[in-house]
Symmetry: none
């Protein structure tokens, strides 16, 4: 069971529209496009999606208004590009599958840790994504689809544990997966993305969420 397809992460389908434009032909074009995306991310994280003006982005990227439209159709599209780039970056850092050691609790703990670490590293962007999904139906659908895939995967994991007698058989795997997955992503959002009340004790966060998952599924006692 893994959590690395977190709720709200941009599905390829959203990133694609941005990729439809064939990539810039020249080296210079590639650089300009990249600088626009970097600028957009900076601006979005600074002032939020709604308050970001295209002019802010081009100013940050030190290019003219017209140039923006050479690479993107509008704010929505460049936001999708920002997400695509971020997703790319997130994939690399050993986001590989957590080794399945046979100990469900250990697997759960590892995947929760992996998810929360990724979340923490991209907290600003996560908050942003949350905001945009609430605003733009396209991103909402997107996030929904992606989250669903994630929930489905976890639901299958739960069903498997139930079959093996390792999880409470009375729980509806799909709904339980949804509930617990949302719990994790929501707590991540509230403790890691919103800067309020200083940074939490990260290990404690991972431990508690993992224990709640384990308890909720009625894992056989793993203590003592």
């Amino acid at each position: 069971m893994d959590l690395d397809g977190w709720e709200g992460s941009p599905p390829p389908s959203l990133a694609n529209p941005a990729l439809l434009r064939e990539p810039p032909a020249t080296e210079r074009g590639v650089r300009t496009r990249a600088s626009l995306i970097a600028a957009a991310r900076a601006v979005f994280e600074r002032v939020g999606y709604l308050d970001a003006r295209l002019a802010d982005i081009t100013a940050e990227a030190k290019c003219s208004t017209g140039t923006f439209y050479l690479y993107f159709k509008n704010k929505e599209e460049i936001f999708a590009a920002v997400l695509a780039v971020a997703e790319e970056e997130m994939r690399h850092p050993g986001m590989g599958r957590v080794a399945d050691t046979g100990d469900p609790y250990a697997v759960l703990a590892a995947s929760n840790r992996a998810y929360l670490e990724t979340y923490r590293r991209n907290a600003k962007l996560m908050a942003l994504l949350d905001q945009v999904a609430n605003i733009d139906p396209a991103f909402q659908r997107l996030r929904r689809r992606r989250a669903q895939a994630f929930i489905d995967r976890n639901a299958r994991g739960i069903a498997d544990l139930q079959k093996r007698g390792l999880a409470d058989p009375d729980l509806d795997p799909e709904l339980t997966s949804r509930a617990l997955s949302m719990m994790v992503s929501r707590v991540a959002f509230s403790t890691l993305a919103l800067d309020e009340g200083g940074p939490p004790d990260f290990d404690h966060l991972v431990d508690t969420l993992t224990r709640i998952w384990a308890n909720a599924l009625r894992f056989p006692d793993h203590r003592g």
Copy 2:
């Protein structure tokens, strides 16, 4: 333990600004103000907060632009008024305390049911509130404060159960409360507020969430 101070509900402090304007002196004024609030709620629920134009609201209320400003300063203020009225309405319908029968599971089930029913009855508004809290810092702070009060209450309930040997003593009450409370409100949001995939099996929803809570806290087995 109860859930009736759901995440995101408007704290009095937000409603107040709207109330600061002294209420209309005449009967007619009271009617007009009420019709504006009703119109605003309808428009907000129809097109969302961001896309709602003041002109839409006054058109819906069949009054002129100027009249709007007689009662509200701007969209934010009338939204606060909408929330205040809704809150008022929500308080009445037997939102009274769930009788504490001594059976923690029954109490939990009852309070979850009460919360989810209220949520369902005001699903559109809840979605709206979620959207606005993501947009307007004032409402975000508001929701945060209110949610925190709710989480605190539940945290105390958890600590109490732990003391009585009825809940897993290894859980951090505060963080656990936060996680499980968010789980409920988030699942409520996703299944009841967003119209996707038809209406869920409501009882099943209540049962599953309650069981997850109970399991997570390691309630003594209440079955059989």
Copy 3:
């Protein structure tokens, strides 16, 4: 020669329109009207003519919007009423003619002093009048006519002195009168109406202006 018809003072013709409405029939009406005028003057002096809202005035007068229109057609009209009342008040305090002692210098000094004292007592209103005359053509014409009457009177005084060999015969009486009259009213405005640089030495002001007048007309030396 006297200066008591100062530049910019409202000619009766302007005050009249306000008087055209026959005065309130009841005692209560008279009081209401008076309170509106007092309120208007206070508001005008506080925020200026342009920034004064009718709502400010009715609020200050503690009456409703509708009541205003019972007594005045608009802001212009109530301003005229304010001027009329002020003029009334100014007339009383011994604004009587300066006794002509035969000594032109003494007469000049006395009339300058009288003018400047009146100005000082009503400095705020004077600044106001200046502002309004610059804005509203009706008041501009008004002020012009009044100032002209004043200038004419002084011009006749100058011509008379010339005839008696007491003033520089080469000066154009009309233009000289205009220049010196404006000088006085302008210095009064800048030193008494605009609160800048603290209150001036009033006697010094009177003396200097009088001496300039006397010198300009080449009065026979009155010193030693």
Copy 4:
């Protein structure tokens, strides 16, 4: 002694804000900005500052609303720009120092003439400036500062003449300068800027004002 820093002329400090926006990058931009300023001046002179709508200005300049905001923040700023351009124009036409021939009367006459000629050439604008200074505190301060500089210069001239035994030693140089300077600017305003009673005899105006100055200061007789 010269008068070429007339009361109300815009100090650089006011013109600056308008100049802060970096000048247009292209030739075309420069032309558009200039046409807006010209249009603004025309509209201001036609209908006055208060009644000028930004729409009037853009219509006159044959450009869109948006274009206006490309170059100016609001009406106040474009008015400052109008003044700055006008000031620029005024500086050129031989506004050079009046040659000091050693004859104070001649110097006085020449500087009065220069001042009044400039005033006459820009009469409409002068009236405008007067109106705006009465309305907008920023311009009022501006005018005050500029006028004070002018008054100070003349005060020094007067003190100098007194020292040389050429002017009435009993006069307060500062106050006398203020009074006589205001006299000139005020007469200029009333005879040259306000279109009333046809154009005056310009030479006569210069002569009379100069003679009043000379008399007031008790210049040694220059006649005969």
